[in-house]
Symmetry: D2
Subunit: 366 residues, 4 copies
């Protein structure tokens, strides 16, 4: 069934297989009059792009985006924006032997069971490569959000058990995008990078935790009771391949807190604005943003593709086999997921921001 | 904007305020020919109902459901099923003084900011009472799932730091619904209950973790790349008021695992079926069910309504105040969220099960 | 499958069978802060209500609406508005003999084939009674539209071949709702009424054409290329039971015109506004409103329920039978469809009006 | 807002401007395992393609479709199918002078009012060229329908007042696609062609009526009460640029019939199937297909682009002007709309056919 669209007002439809001709996205609902260029998109794609450091996959994709519609003389038309990236550095040969052998932890087996047919080359539609389309769409969303002073910042807070110390927002902003692991605690970052290299040498992989913070989010975003902001964020983030958990604000820690600890008390700022000093709620109460920063964390599992031998089953011959995956893979996908997670958060926020305009459709009761 | 519907094929629309005339739900898309009675629904509502034990709110609601349409001579017609529960034990007086004072951790402030108007009585639309409508709809979903041998079982695994030991599925099934905290480890259950009573005595509240397991889920459910089964579950569960985190399978633990530990290797069962011995994936790979049990856990925050004094701000007078909440509240909402979470998982699964029929729409390539 | 919701931003879900407990509607997406009372709804329901004149069905329903949620102290909350009307004057006895015999021109046969089960009493879900729910929702839509000076006016232009002469808008407004056939040409109205009585005496029924005009519609409503204003109107109007045709502006006459006759030329009004002197487009170009009145016409078939003997087939016994329908029916449904068609037009317009706010989301390029 | 997607289960999203880089479509929800090649799509595109006869526009577009995703080794994967057609024979020069002058009967003015910006070259998004994407998607729909023995056949029944005589289905099938006007009455076809040439010589254009018949449609398609088959067809057909009216079965003629004439009586066929001898219902009762052929007719207005001088207003200078349109246009678009209308009917039917599978989700009550 249909499942390749996301969003209601800012609606994104992605398409493409990893080793097909191209991957792409159609953005429907982007308002007219937005200044938009290829450069805006390319900048974000470059942040996600493979082959840029020692700890990412060796697949080299220029990932140059083309915009095929929806823009005229540098501005959006209000019509669908179609973007694509051609697949270029394709080597399907390592996948031939895996045609009938599902890789543990990958989508091979479940796709086979669901569709009865699958493009086994490079993971097909289930490849992380699909997320390039999300990042392209997210770049537009970010541009719209930026015009409303909403900023989205992702960073890695933990890899293989190594935790970053808590950093202030300015430090985050300064450091997070400056190292290969996208961790703002530079000392931890260097240990994380070291660990990833070791794990790679073992033919293994490692997981981590990333955090996405959105600042400048106005109060009032989110559509109860099912389209709550946190519910949409959870869906958006959990729809990223390697994500196994999502938490908002205090998250799982909340389960061990008392109400008197968890509740963020209200106070009056000097400027007479109502605010809270703590943010255990992660900027969301009752599924609606409060005006405090929106804080989400995601658990990223270790990359499923490892070169260590693993057991599997040949689905044609129905016999157990030992499997060695070659291909080119990231030993830790967590850093590269950061821009993808940012894109998903941006898609949710822009959709909710547009929806929130409806809240003022009727001049309010005096 | 619209946000009160859930699901695409089995589509649920809930309505109602806590202290309004009634709360209810319309289920559109329930196939014709299902044997269905008020008893099927009432059974699940009774599991969620307040006022049944010492550790739940004292509000007493019979929560008797009425079915107003969609059933004829005991069978569903394929037309919308409208159900409602009248609100009876309403006492809005404790809410009058809170009209302008948002309770910390509650939706008061964010609703006020979003809508400019709110029904402050009993939490209005943001009340946990809204979940009765979900449970009613979920009861229908469960009945459909049961006909396909899909069972959903929720239980509490942790409250206020007290963890239940791991129990086998049979023990779960036998014990989980038998005690006030819905914990299958009876020894832990008794300590949890004790803790909740203590916390209640302090005028405080406490959080916990619940787990929902779905067995019998066939391989192939979930609609990549955005309608993935885990993404839909995350949205469904995070849309429940007090939930701050959702994880699937190994969840946040996956962040500390290596690929060689995390990956569930495939083997051939004696009956020549492909299976895995571990289930770190929680029954979902690439957003599609594998046939293994689907396992989700949710972090439930401590009930926001506590009688301990808290700081807040009078939004009319714009001055800080001390707040004492009276009303009637659950000191730990985690046990009562279990049937709600089960309902949400059921709604997701029935929707995905119906969608999966499309996968066989075309006779597959030989 | 789901099919009982209409609209995207102002989303209406109807439910209920003709001889079930009640019929109702949930309106999701109505903005907060709208002043709304039962009276607003009742007024429109009374216009549709049966049993008010000699030429309508004798079923007597008070059709008193109850609002169960979404309103607080006289204003909408932004939460779902649930409304219902209890079915009271039910006499299912005439339907018993028809249990297995599909009435020609009715939905009996197709419902039977689709669902395998049907509530045969009074037409069940396929009854015109379902439209009361649409009218209730439409009443809210009309109120929102009125605040933007958008008026919707329906009237009958033809019955059984008797055509009303063209009347100016003021005459329409004054006369259309004042007679039993809802025709503004009073002379024609009287002949139409006479014809309906004759046809009723014969045990037969007769069809007609109604026109719906919306004035004050701002330019810019409609969402190309599939959510065009005319496309949404066509769906909305064709979804009414007895409607077999929909046309916009010149409609089918356009098929016989030349481009030079059909095109509405632009000119500059005295107030420097761009306008057209003709309105063959019916106020819509490229699927978007132009600012001119939106004009739709619908072909309403003769009521299928006639007391003249008809041939049918007993679906159980598989033998041909002669059928005589008793029940209580309108010999011409066209006049009573007018408020329903108005409601559907209102639902489309309010949805498009809300959507059009997005067009100004970004301050336009200078 | 979003408006460029159509369908719920077989979901089509089109994009592209007439003089942009390309136009295209993403089909989400096409089931896996369908044998599909470029040739299947190209065949339908060739039927719509401009520049093939004396009575169509002179723009010459090869309209060669590329499939970029969703197909693997000749079969659909169940993932989105992305298709595009590059725009090649572009000459935007005739549009430069019209930048600020809306052409009567075109979407220029309404797009300008809605979006504040528009791609004026070749009609931009409002161009008939957009329908190539619909035809490409429709080709897939037709292939799926054909596997269920559902055939869709469009033909022209009237042009400029010249009516074709009624022809049997076999004659239709044989003749309709064999002449430039797509009329199965060859004698009328030749008169129509003559008229179009005369009108073209005058610098004018002419309208017409086309009929689309779907045979083999099983009983049970359509989702009351808003997703009725006729409602969806009306939307689908009215969403085509030049269409001003849609009717089903007897259509507007029904308005002049009595119930005893209109109702299609049921009888028992020799093979014991229930059927009707007449088909005034056009194969749809209560919004659900009956098993009889589904019959729709559309009123197509004369092409708005005519070379005769017309009055308009310069929107920049705010002064009235005389306008002469150059460009390349069809003097009668009706014949070229036939494959587009077929595509839209196919999209509706495939969506409803897929939805109807849900009707048998539960084994029916005995």
């Amino acid at each position: 069934m249909t499942g390749n669209s996301f969003g209601m007002l800012f609606r994104v439809t992605t398409w493409g297989e990893s080793h097909g001709a191209a991957i792409g996205v159609v953005v429907d609902g982007c308002p007219a009059g937005l200044k938009l260029s290829v450069k805006d998109i390319q900048h974000e794609l470059d942040r996600r792009k493979p082959g840029v450091s020692e700890i990412t996959t060796e697949r080299k994709e220029a990932d140059e985006v083309e915009i095929l519609s929806g823009i005229f003389e540098g501005y959006t038309l209000g019509t669908p924006i179609s973007m694509l990236v051609w697949n270029k550095d394709i080597d399907s040969s390592p996948y031939e032997p895996l045609k009938d052998i599902p890789r543990p932890g990958q989508a091979d087996y479940s796709y086979h069971r669901k569709y009865g047919i699958r493009d086994y080359r490079g993971g097909g539609r289930a490849s992380g490569r699909e997320t390039a389309a999300r990042v392209a769409a997210g770049a537009i969303a970010k541009k719209i959000l930026a015009a409303s002073d909403i900023q989205i910042l992702g960073h890695v807070v933990e890899i293989g058990g190594i935790r970053a110390r808590e950093t202030g927002f300015d430090e985050l902003k300064k450091n997070a995008d400056q190292n290969a692991v996208r961790c703002a605690d530079l000392e931890a970052a260097s240990r994380m990078e070291q660990l990833i290299k070791e794990v790679k040498a073992e033919g293994d992989s490692v997981g981590g935790i990333a955090e996405i913070i959105a600042t400048g989010v106005p109060a009032g975003l989110g559509e109860p009771v099912f389209g709550k902001l946190d519910a949409e964020l959870a869906k958006a983030l959990m729809s990223i391949g390697a994500v196994k958990g999502v938490e908002i604000g205090a998250g799982f820690k909340a389960a061990r807190m008392k109400g008197s600890e968890m509740n963020d008390e209200f106070y009056l700022q000097e400027d007479r604005q109502i605010s809270t000093r703590t943010n255990n709620a992660g900027g969301i109460l009752g599924g609606i943003s409060t005006g405090a920063p929106v804080v989400c964390r995601i658990a990223v599992k270790p990359t499923a593709s490892i070169s260590k031998p693993q057991r599997s089953v040949d689905m044609e011959k129905l016999e157990e086999v030992e499997l060695k995956i070659k291909g080119r893979h990231d030993p830790c996908i967590c850093p590269r997921i950061v821009p993808v997670a940012e894109a998903m958060v941006a898609l949710v926020l822009v959709d909710c921001l547009m929806a929130s305009v409806m809240d003022n459709f009727i001049s309010k009761k005096e």
